[in-house]
């Protein structure tokens, strides 16, 4: 299920605080533009959750919990781009 408006706003605020803390440039983008991006990612996850789950091999697909599958995706994606 997609995030509600409050949760999307929370992610929007969190990203701005984290990027501001690292003085990480966000270019010509307003708060509303970033919120639209958050919404688009949330919608993409909603549309592709089943496909992601099917991409996991067994036994991971059955053994991992939903939160674990989310963390798996997050850790792999983050490592690819070394954002730490």
């Amino acid at each position: 299920m997609a995030l509600n408006a409050g949760d999307r706003a929370f992610v929007n605020s969190l990203l701005q605080r984290e990027w501001s803390g690292r003085n990480e440039q966000t270019g010509a983008m307003t708060k509303a533009d970033l919120l639209a991006a958050v919404a688009a990612v949330d919608d993409w996850i909603d549309a592709n959750a089943a496909s992601y789950n099917q991409a996991l091999p067994q036994p991971a697909r059955d053994a991992l919990t939903a939160p674990q599958k989310v963390e798996l995706l997050y850790r792999v994606a983050r490592r690819r781009y070394e954002v730490d």
């Binding site: 706003a9 929007n12 605020s13 701005q16 605080r17 990027w19 501001s20 803390g21 003085n23 990480e24 440039q25 966000t26 270019g27 010509a28 983008m29 307003t30 708060k31 509303a32 533009d33 970033l34």
Partner: protein, 163 residues
Amino acid sequence: MASGDTLLQWSALANEPPSSNAATFDTRNQHPVLDFDASTNETAVFSGVMPQHYATGGVTVYLHYAMSTATSGDIDWDVGFELVGDGSQDIDSDGFAAVNSVDNTTVPGTSGHIDVVSVAFTDGADMDSVTAGSGFRMKVTRDAASDTAAGDAELRWVEIRET
């Protein structure tokens, strides 16, 4: 004192944080700054004694700020005065006058560039009747609920001039 002359000035180091929703002290390349959140209205407070050479011409407050990350959008600031004075304000509570605002300022195209905006106050009730020799506080708030620029705003200096 002549119009345009500096009465008082502060750096970010002089902030006296309010008890809630305070701007956060930070450094940027060793510049002390106050970070104002992009989602929640946050406030910094500065205090002083109005100099004797204030000539009742009203004051203009100059805010020197930069954006942490944004290079587009606009920013809104609110400024308000509180006369503490000689028997004028019980310091156990707040008594700020209504704020004056500078809104819809397009932020600099380079995030580290300082922009300077100003807010004018007429002498008298508009600046809570602060007079020469009276103690006062001044609060600076980012109206993040209304502005559009993403990320923190960083306040570097505040200056008060005779209008």
